[in-house]
Symmetry: C2
Subunit: 287 residues, 2 copies
């Protein structure tokens, strides 16, 4: 199968959004909708159709793990500047699937206990089980993003982490975890508008944090840190995808497609019965 | 607020389905639709409308925990015989809300490590954080259901557990966790039909376990164990609700209404801004 299951894409996001050699974050147009020729209205309809396909694939993936404890898993890693839409992806893309097949974890500021261990200690504990779709809302990449920008660790420790991340992710992919690493990319102007909306609406105040402005002031440093992340950790087995996210509807559709692509490459099948179906029918009839 | 937010109920499920004095499980009609005067088609439409209300209340509950780390939580406890529809409740009722506000845990056969601790040890770890809706797919009640029917512990230990459960749940409710304890109740004939469907359909085989028949043979013993659970653990602060579940659409609508009732009693509000909104607007404009 190809990733164009719904035939709504003129170019496959798994190719066009992938970070390859020579990629420059600064060249990405955050308002673009690469590979998708329609607008918001049609995008919503396509998202709903894709949700049904995703739901079916997820159920099969989950079912397959009953027969095979080493069945594959998927891990969606979401990174972004504030307001870029991570929450909307979780709500509208992941939320359209069965919660029983999802393992979602939001990584916050590390606790004292977490800081007393290597930065991957808390991450390892949240990796998805066989048959599950794991979702990281922020991730180990914070440790080379804010970690670098805010100098939360010495330079040589930050340097060490890129290799440690690649080793960690290689182990995940070797053991059947299909990584989908996504940066949702917005422009500073779009962030300004979204932060402004959060300040204007009392029902959005809870999503606003004065610290968001502090991070916003460091935008160029964050973009540099992301560029380095892409150069050092976009591997063949675990590539990065940069998704233009000024248009929320496009970002959701694109991330959904990346997940569909991962699941279609897994191509999960209903497991065979691990019991004698005819014999069980007789037992049931007699019960 | 009352629990009849959608005005679709002629009698409030939080009252009619509640286990009170003199309750007898044997008297419950598993095909009935108490308090709801319409059929399946209208039931589906009402479920969709209720989902929007539930989603809004959940977001407010979640938001309120940002300001108040001791904000309330909800814990839905689902117990049932096999095939009664726990999974469908999770998928269709819980699945209609934002995954970011849900903490779902399916309790399986205890591990060796879990068995080396008191039965509540593993349960305590899964209780919902402030602002979350926790969902237990099976629960600590297994330890007085299969635990009793299969004599997995001595009789005096089983006896001890009822009191321990009441103490544990009283502590939860004292600290702001609103418990919604639900038994989905089906008839043996309905289970037979549903198990038969799982055997007939290859895409359902993974949901079938030959052990289901073994448990089915012990139906009367399980009903006795449930009756004892209700008599010993349906408290004012944490009552049980027995939901007739032969009609899946009704069970979903009723459990949704019980959740709506719990959330409406909490009546969560958008938290006030913990910052100076005007000052932040100025900072944002200058950034």
């Amino acid at each position: 199968m190809t990733s164009t299951s719904l035939n709504v894409w003129t170019a496959d996001p798994a190719q066009t959004l992938r970070v390859g050699d020579g990629f420059r974050l600064a060249d990405v147009d955050t308002r673009a909708t690469p590979g998708y020729g329609h607008g918001k209205h049609r995008g919503s309809a396509d998202l709903a159709r894709g949700a049904d396909v995703l739901d079916g694939l997820q159920e099969r993936l989950h079912a397959s793990s009953r027969e095979d404890p080493e069945a594959p898993a998927v891990l969606l890693v979401l990174q972004a500047m504030d307001t870029a839409g991570k929450g909307g992806i979780v709500r509208h893309v992941i939320g359209a699937t069965d919660p029983q097949g999802i393992m979602l974890h939001a990584f916050k500021k590390p606790t004292d206990e977490e800081l007393a261990h290597d930065f991957l200690w808390r991450v390892e504990k949240q990796t998805p089980r066989a048959g599950f779709i794991g979702v990281f809302d922020r991730s180990h990449y914070e440790d080379v993003l804010i970690g670098r920008v805010r100098q939360l660790a010495p330079a040589d420790e930050i340097e060490r982490r890129y290799g440690a991340i690649n080793d960690f992710e290689a182990r995940l992919t070797d053991t059947g975890v299909h990584l989908v690493k996504v940066m949702l990319h917005i422009s500073p102007d779009e962030q300004k508008a979204r932060l402004g909306e959060r300040l204007d609406r009392p029902d959005k105040h809870w999503k606003y944090n004065p610290g968001d402005i502090d991070e916003r002031m460091l935008w160029p440093a964050y973009m540099d840190a992301y560029q380095t992340v892409f150069e050092r950790t976009s591997t063949v087995a675990a590539p990065w995808f940069v998704v233009p996210a000024d248009r929320k509807w496009y970002a959701r559709l694109a991330v959904q497609e990346l997940l569909l692509d991962a699941l279609e490459r897994i191509d999960p099948h209903w497991p065979r019965a691990m019991f004698d179906v005819a014999a069980e029918k007789i037992r049931l009839a007699a019960s």
